[in-house]
């Protein structure tokens, strides 16, 4: 029997992307754990924090990042914890153990979503063609997380860093190919919209 092979969601897409205003790549080293704890259950929150080394973000649309973990706020009682993919089972176990006897839910969902990373300063301009949120808002800075309607599907957006801007888009695995198609269309150099609200040549009068 051959070695068990794990395939990423976009493994069937071999075509090189070109002519785009930013870099698009799928990240498949991300492990993901769905974590559910009631927001007022301080004991469970503390138990999770002991494993993760960081607090779960309590504020909407934020994330916390620590040594090996990032915790994305998904709703008042739901977080997506990301980690090194090869260690997901280990962390799922240690979180489950720490939360034993608590009212909490720990689920390994590493294969459920595809993570698409967009790198380049035109990121916001491309995302303006993908979702209705105010992507140019100053609120959207590294660490920002928002569940969005991407094209016509559900997704989550996280701003990873700036200079250059880097966003990660989380979509359900079965829709990854559709999401990539949409991004390829939106990010074409020939359709670039330039920097909105930026200084621009004055139109004729």
């Amino acid at each position: 029997m051959s070695e068990a092979e794990w395939l990423n969601a976009l493994a069937h897409r071999t075509v090189e992307l070109s002519g785009l205003v930013l870099a698009i790549e799928e990240r498949f080293d991300v492990g993901m754990i769905d974590l559910r704890i009631l927001p007022d259950d301080t004991e469970s929150l503390a138990a999770a924090q002991r494993v993760l080394g960081i607090a779960l973000p309590g504020e909407a649309r934020t994330s916390t990042a620590g040594d090996g973990f990032t915790c994305l706020w998904f709703s008042v009682d739901q977080w997506l914890v990301t980690c090194d993919r090869t260690r997901t089972q280990e962390f799922t176990k240690s979180l489950s153990k720490a939360l034993e006897g608590h009212f909490a839910s720990v689920t390994d969902v590493s294969d459920m979503r595809a993570v698409i990373r967009l790198t380049g300063d035109a990121g916001r301009q491309v995302l303006m063609k993908c979702m209705s949120i105010d992507i140019l808002s100053k609120e959207i800075r590294p660490g920002y997380v928002r569940r969005v309607n991407f094209g016509e599907i559900a997704g989550a957006l996280r701003m990873v860093s700036n200079e250059p801007d880097c966003f990660e888009l989380y979509v359900f695995r079965s829709y990854a190919s559709y999401a990539l198609d949409w991004l390829e269309e939106a990010a074409r150099e020939s359709a670039a919209i330039g920097k909105p609200f930026g200084p621009s040549p004055a139109p004729p009068v």
């Binding site: 794990w6 069937h12 839910s105 294969d111 140019l136 559709y178 949409w182 919209i193 609200f197 139109p203």
Partner: protein, 1016 residues
Amino acid sequence: MTVLPHRLAEAALGGQAGRLIDRTKTIRFTFDGKTMSGFAGDTLASALMANGVRVVGRSFKYHRPRGLLGLGSEEPNGLVTIGEDNRLEPNVRATQVELYDGLTARSQNRWPSLQFDVGEINNRFSRYIPAGFYYKTFMHPRAFWKHIYEPVIRRAAGLGPAPKEADPDRYEHVHIHCDVLVVGGGIAGLAAARSAMEAGARVILADENSRLGGVSDLNDEKIEGENALAWISKTTEELAASETVHLLTRTTATGHFDHNYVVMCERVCDHDPARLKNGAPRHRLWKVRTKEVVLATGSIERPIAFADNDKPGVMLASAVRGYIARYAVTPGSAAVLFTNNDDAYRTFTALYDAGVTLTRIIDSRPAPDSILTDKAKALGIPLSFGSGISSVKTEDGGKCIAGVSVTSLTGGGGLNRPIGAECDFICMSGGFNPAVHLFSHGGGKLIYDEMLQAFRPGETRERIRVVGAANGVFETAKILAEGISAGWSAARDALPKGAVKGRAPRPPKADAQPISPSEPVWFVPAHGEKNEGNKHFLDFQNDVTVADVELANREGYRSVEHVKRYTTLGMATDQGKTSNINALGILSEALGKTIPEIGTTTFRPPYTPFSFGAFVGPVRGKLFQPVRRTPVQSWHEDMGAEFEPIGQWRRPYCYPKGSERRSDAVKREVMAVRNAAGLLDASTLGKIEVRGPDAGTFLDLIYTNTMSTLKVGRCRYGLMLNDSGFLFDDGVTVRFADEHFLVHTTSGNSDHIGGWLERWHQTEWPHLKVFMTPVTEQWAQFALAGPKAHAVLEALESDIDFSGRAFPFLSFKAGRLAGVPVRVYRISFSGELSFEIATPAGFGQYLWTALMKAGEGFDIAPYGTEALHVMRAEKGFIAIGDETDGTVTPLDLGLSWAVSKKKKDFIGKRALELPDLARNDRRHFIGLLTEDPQRVLPEGAQAVADPRARPPHRVIGYVSSTYFSPTLERSIAFGLIERGRERMGETIHFAVGGTMMPAEIVDPVFYDKEAERQNV
């Protein structure tokens, strides 16, 4: 041709004429196949005028020759078809088409040619085809409407042709947010945008034209001591340089929707189609969400309803002035001017300065008095006050104007002796209507302004301010002051409290020209021998005349909304931009009511039509609908599977080999499962993990049967009802641990069920300690079914004992198979020995391949959804969506064994007790065997109560699933039939293609009634 007939010399107006054209750059284009030339900066309209083209189209109903009326988006006549083949676009306003090399334009609604049109005969008979003519005439015989009248009328009336090929260009949508959106880039809009910018707001300013400044360049006024254009340039540059202002030209705000959501269409490449080749979007739809809106949409000049006011050469006065100032063209060489207001005198000045002969100014006001009128007096232009144009003399079959008759309007009754005036074009101005369209889209109420004789914005529930001419303010100084004040206050309201400090900037100084009031002139009586044949047009685009509106009134149409629909006034593509108020004036006189009493019709989006492409945006081709892929999709595609849509999934229907027919492939797949082994990709099944101390209690409420008694490691089939007691989902629930369940849902319903569980938990039972995590996408899941399923599994390395003793039916085990983690459920939808094997999605393709390889020696075959359905039907299993349609209860389906009688409550329990659901004559789920075993009943066939009765038949049920069973070598079907369970053995009849098809009612389990095969 070096000098075009109507192009003014470069020196005209002291070199000031034609400020937008570049005479050094000649542009070639064609109109109706004829090559013409214009200059860079021309619009198609100005270039046609320069080439001496008077007739640009034929009218909608009467096919009357029509020329240009306006200068911009208000143009009702100059509709042309641009481009060819797949890039053909009909009904484009020539006034908004920027000229480019190679542009091809065609006139519309004419045959065989624009100059000679057969349809013009409609005009000769126009007295017989007034408003409502179609409704009155084409009534009988009834069948004629569809086959004769309508096709003929549709061919005769109408606008440009639709393209026949797919649009090759791309379109896109962009979402953008701002604090203040300013619509309109005239001085009012510029002032508002600048003041909002200074207050610190994020501002978008959009204008439908290619340039900013509105019509201020036509008014010869000064701002801060300079020509208005200098101030416009300076302000535009300041806005463009800002980090908080986004300027958009060629962008029409087409609609304003609730909560300040404004849709704007930018024409990105229409003026420069070469960019399309690189893939640039042709149009871009901006979806703007703004906190505050400032509308500075200006006003639209009104025509005057005089006889034959639609002749080519009758134009709006401000438009004529615009053609001279911007493009150095005039519609002719001798003009008359007919007005009821002072603004038109600016056109007189422009004509005079351009050296165009003005033979007479006709003013409906008895004694107008202002600087502008004085100037005309001083220059000795013949003036007729208190007068109107009573007839228009034409040449060349009505295509050229030769002169007008002018009659006093103050004679108190009959017409006086007319004065003649020679001219080849007419400038008319009946006042100005504020462009209130966008204000009205959001439900804004309009108020009638007696001074303006027009509607202007009143109350609105939206956060909108209206400034400048759009608000009925026409003096430059006042416009600027209003713009600045609105921009500042909009920014203040949009930004957080206290963020805007200080006061609004001082408005720039502007000289105010005193203007004497205008007076309404709704109708000018006609004069001449053939008086009755003359038409006073109100709506040029839909060919609606004053007589039509009066006729509607005589026939009893009192409401303006009814008059609109009966006459089609204001219902053309221009939405009555130039006709609305004039029609109300006519109606007002006819009804003896004031205009405010009559009210106005509703303006609806779009402000001007925009392309379907922009509407659709990127949602076409492969982005038309999101398509979901299972982890094994590529394998299915490589195997040449035929797919069927299930929700947004594409599931293999069957896997034809070579040239195998679909039905043969399905048979082969069924027999493979029945005799050997088959593998089905069931990854699309919905999967929801349910955890918590109350998980069992919660599932007891969700399902009709009891899940809390399920033992750990076991599986149970369950039914979900909606609160009306109807079955809407089914599936197998697995208990992993005391407080940990997995719920399987049908493929198409998985997202819905996820929401359903959350809804009931969050709204009805929030006290239950339970968490739901949908994990559909986490797992690839395959059904390995068939008598050799064991053997296939044993060929793979595993820590799981798959033997019947260790792994009984309806149980679950987790472990490793072929080196990957798996969850295995021994459940069966085919009736065969069957294992559903789940593995994390990333291992899906690997495990599938491993199973297929392990099964090679056992004749394994992949099978699709159709084979699955045939086998479940052979076994008498229902399928959600086939046997259910939202009106079927579990009792109807004979599934009462799955409905708990002990549980105190579950969703749908009380509804099941309703008398109608407990009726004993409901339709029951039964099996059907056709008399002829080779004939398959059509799906949905209706069963009749008495096959010998004359139609219409009483229907007693229908066929819900129907297949040819390869296992039984005969047709089988399910039906939902009235009292079906009481009729076992009875033969009933189905109406099929005009004959009756008999079938016997039987038990729905056709195969392996003892259910032994799943335990092989």
